[in-house]
Symmetry: D3
Subunit: 247 residues, 6 copies
Amino acid sequence: MPQILVVNPNTSKKSSEVIKMALLPYLTGDLLIDVVNSKAGPEGIDTLLDIAISGIEAVKIVVENRDKYDGFVIACGADPGVDLARQVTKKPVVGSAEAGMLLACTLGSKFTMLTGLQAEIPILYELVSKYGLEKRLASIIPVHMDTSTIVHGEKDILQHNITAGRKAIKEDLAEVLVLAGSVVAGIALPLQKELGIPVVPGLVAALKLCEDLIGMDLWTSQVYKYYSINKKDKLYGYEDFQDVFSL
Amino acid sequence: MPQILVVNPNTSKKSSEVIKMALLPYLTGDLLIDVVNSKAGPEGIDTLLDIAISGIEAVKIVVENRDKYDGFVIACGADPGVDLARQVTKKPVVGSAEAGMLLACTLGSKFTMLTGLQAEIPILYELVSKYGLEKRLASIIPVHMDTSTIVHGEKDILQHNITAGRKAIKEDLAEVLVLAGSVVAGIALPLQKELGIPVVPGLVAALKLCEDLIGMDLWTSQVYKYYSINKKDKLYGYEDFQDVFSL
Amino acid sequence: MPQILVVNPNTSKKSSEVIKMALLPYLTGDLLIDVVNSKAGPEGIDTLLDIAISGIEAVKIVVENRDKYDGFVIACGADPGVDLARQVTKKPVVGSAEAGMLLACTLGSKFTMLTGLQAEIPILYELVSKYGLEKRLASIIPVHMDTSTIVHGEKDILQHNITAGRKAIKEDLAEVLVLAGSVVAGIALPLQKELGIPVVPGLVAALKLCEDLIGMDLWTSQVYKYYSINKKDKLYGYEDFQDVFSL
Amino acid sequence: MPQILVVNPNTSKKSSEVIKMALLPYLTGDLLIDVVNSKAGPEGIDTLLDIAISGIEAVKIVVENRDKYDGFVIACGADPGVDLARQVTKKPVVGSAEAGMLLACTLGSKFTMLTGLQAEIPILYELVSKYGLEKRLASIIPVHMDTSTIVHGEKDILQHNITAGRKAIKEDLAEVLVLAGSVVAGIALPLQKELGIPVVPGLVAALKLCEDLIGMDLWTSQVYKYYSINKKDKLYGYEDFQDVFSL
Amino acid sequence: MPQILVVNPNTSKKSSEVIKMALLPYLTGDLLIDVVNSKAGPEGIDTLLDIAISGIEAVKIVVENRDKYDGFVIACGADPGVDLARQVTKKPVVGSAEAGMLLACTLGSKFTMLTGLQAEIPILYELVSKYGLEKRLASIIPVHMDTSTIVHGEKDILQHNITAGRKAIKEDLAEVLVLAGSVVAGIALPLQKELGIPVVPGLVAALKLCEDLIGMDLWTSQVYKYYSINKKDKLYGYEDFQDVFSL
Amino acid sequence: MPQILVVNPNTSKKSSEVIKMALLPYLTGDLLIDVVNSKAGPEGIDTLLDIAISGIEAVKIVVENRDKYDGFVIACGADPGVDLARQVTKKPVVGSAEAGMLLACTLGSKFTMLTGLQAEIPILYELVSKYGLEKRLASIIPVHMDTSTIVHGEKDILQHNITAGRKAIKEDLAEVLVLAGSVVAGIALPLQKELGIPVVPGLVAALKLCEDLIGMDLWTSQVYKYYSINKKDKLYGYEDFQDVFSL
């Protein structure tokens, strides 16, 4: 009975509800999930600073729960804390943006990422580049809405995404769309119906890949990038992490 | 009750047995699979020509079965026919090499591919490059065995892979290994136990990703790369494909 | 008296006529050429599947003729079977797209490829990328005509190419055009006269490079990528190739 | 009278002393500097988690001091918090690794980065890649010492770096060395004397570039990547940053 | 008392005046500079041939003065002779384009280069690529004025650059502008005031970086790229350089 | 009766003899060639400065002869003046390194360049990169001989190249060798016989490609990179080029 913790790295309970609702239709077999917010940090994740703070807070949740779950999903389109969480547990950790892009690769030669704000383009581009997937990227297109607006259910979200998607297909030759953000996962099916190309909700992709890794007995490699050294140092103010350093 | 056809693009019944055995432990829920060989072509797939012939033969199998299954896995480490099959059906088609690499990306920053022969290095490198994953590649290391040798159960296969894997970790800073070839999927678990880093069997990864795509209602994008035109032309000698051209 | 076989990998006799006419003005010295169609496969080559089938059929022609000619040209803008043919003979094999791009590199910093259909853009892009020439590519522009239409002499072909070429120069800063397709080789000179930049017909470029390689006693390297292993396996249904495996 | 705050993002007072001593010989004109530690976080920065925590803590220092100084240097070879700090102030912020690499580019075609631990190689490689400088990188070579060991003055530090540097020159054709870490800045001159190639101490380079930017009236661009949105959201637990969100 | 020679590689005295005026506000401390023209070559540097000739002439000036100055700045947006000068002296040599781009990297994720003529785009692109900074480049935009026009003070130069800059910000998501050309250095401050993003005058950046390198005791690496061999050969017609070959 | 001028950009008559001898066996049909030295500059071309000076001198030869020949070959492995010559004439200009690499691309997936000195590695690497061919490059290997030594017929040149070639095949998986330097063109055939892989003499390749371009009525594109502006400026000291500026 695999159990996955979906970490919503912001502090908005409302968005956790949205995330939970979006995931329900995809739960199969005996998989159990919990969705939990970070305990501190921003209500919506839109800027570099939001991402950094949420990353630390998300990893605190992972540390706290690392014995209780079989894998972790980070439910945010900027993958905050995904790399960090891989240092504190060997259990699978999967990010929404990452998973959305990886699955998209099996459906067409180029994907477009739909995101919230124009200012996120360079941030997401750096993420795509870190994952080594520039060659598969058609474009990153903002729908010009911040996370809070989306969570609070602006009713023309679908329409904004349809417009952006059409542009992606026509001008950028996108063959697949990736919905980076978690709170928009629910519009993937109507959007793909409308546009006629596959639309990958990153959040759901992350849950699926996490389940795959658990089912295949695969764990995070901690030999180099995700290595922890046996610190003799103190870690002031972050006592929760102190023991993470001791291997 | 999702049904996936695992197409073994070579003509060796023995290797289909090996593949079936390797997949059994990973079947979960109500998933049903069949494993079927190509009807013509090489018994083992080692060279460019093998790959091309097997690709055509694999896609014939897919055409024949496209109404009977929900998705298709191509069980060969060079992904023969994967692109082609995506033109003849919108249902998910996943290749072993592709899937192994994509899942490996969630486990470490660089992976090494273990393959059969040194001559396959440029062929696999072109595949990695086509998928846009050069940046994530630590190295491609041959174990110096052709497919037939492996299928016929040379007993030191595990040992050859351990040696190659150690080299990958030490010299190329590999954090994850990908077993490109299908018939070696069974050694993934003992290999990862021995080496202490995750070892992804591409074959199993392909099955998992295919199941994910089916579960998410995702299909192949046929707007550009996988487009078929409504040919007025005849397709001499490949009558099976004639109707594939008519959209 | 060098003899080159121009393999037209489709099954349209008409297009072989067009190809022959296009090549005549470029035959110099004592060079002899024959133009021959594949015996099976599509009449026009527009999609991934067309390319794959034509590739196999083209290589069958090469196998059959490998003792009779000094070199081989594959007359199609997607280079079907070029890689495969290099496995079955050490004699020079040159593709039209490849040759067009290579020659274009000596004439300007960036070239645009003119092709038939928009859906071919990702396919050609992958070809450019496989050849490692992305940095030299200004753009790929479709003239929105399939191969058959072109062969059957739609009279505004030149005009379509002029329009596409002007766009390439102005918007993409193209300095050179490459005509990927073989059947359009004949419009290279009027097109370049009209546009004021060099236009390289890939077909002719392939013939020239093939002749160069023959004249320089250069042959294909078969140490890695184009290696054949001495198969103990049978190759069911492709008996023509059986002996290709025996080195 | 330009004033620069050198933020040492770890919590080791001793390393701040080392940093101050290393910078003294390079202070020219009327430049004033202060060196200050983060108030929380690790004593030495070696892993991904160290970098993330130190980044947040460093940016807290920058927020606190953003009205008092003309520019900021982040004194750590992994550039923790550099991007974040650029969101909270328009005043110049320069990182040690970044500055070391940029200056190295003016001295030779390829540089090698010397760092502490082998596990840092992928982390630094991702940094080099984020900065877009892969093409200029000869290699990243660890001297196999963690930050604490270096701070506490292991006397063979110079010798370890000489060995690594010789390897870089001979095997990787490095023309320049970059000392990523701040606490080793003091060995740059003896090291370059010994090796006969230029050795750039990232820490000093950062101070110099920061001074340059101040002198040229240049500030950080906050139109896209470093944009802050006017949040209606609360930022729980990070009240120091609340006003950062209000533009 | 560091002394830097600013080599204006063209033969226009007027442009040297412009350069001197542009640099004056940035001279700090005890730095002394001289600005000197090449003795032969073009009055303005716009084409490949201009760049090559000016490069040779600039390096003649450097050879002549290599004992009299502590460092050299090449004041031209195509960096003519920068690489060459690094072979004839170990003292720092910095180019305007190079320095502008390097400093821009600390201010935003992507920069746009503003240059004179459209025909310079591929030339500058090759320069950006040689420096390995493609990933940081948003675009290269010409203001459609040759060097002479700019030097002779066409009064709408600022306006042309404002227009180009706005396009860069809006269409190419440029976060920083680099003024490649030396003679436009004086408009950097009004331009950045108008556009609201930082504008880096390459010329001033070069002076600053040169001063940094001098202050840090850094010199050019001559182990590989900038190596001179002890020629037994004669160097006909370039006697000034004869001794450069003797190490 | 096409006539090609082979410009040997150094001043060694002896090397022009070697070049002429190397080309003789490859002259076919009615092709006429002349080989001519630069009138000034170094006797051998080994360093950046040699390349720059030889480039200017080579282009002087081209300017002088631009009405007398149908095309130009620059006979030196660093392609000095190739880009420049393309600005002064629309007639085809082909460089030895460039042509060698382009032809090599048709013979295998990766080539190794054999060159004279280790210090030339970064210089040649930049050339490969300018041509956009990094992906096809296996390695650059020096034989540790300067040009003069080679010209004066050191008898173990072949042996040095065999050793380097074997290393390339075994360690770098080179499938083809490119002899960049012109004066070694004569050893291509014995070398390829010895090594069992194709060896492309750049010099001969350049002649062949130049002949191809002439035969195809292709000329250099002068719309962007090779553009000349109608200068009102004077070009002091380079009067030969004055009229080159007037279009």
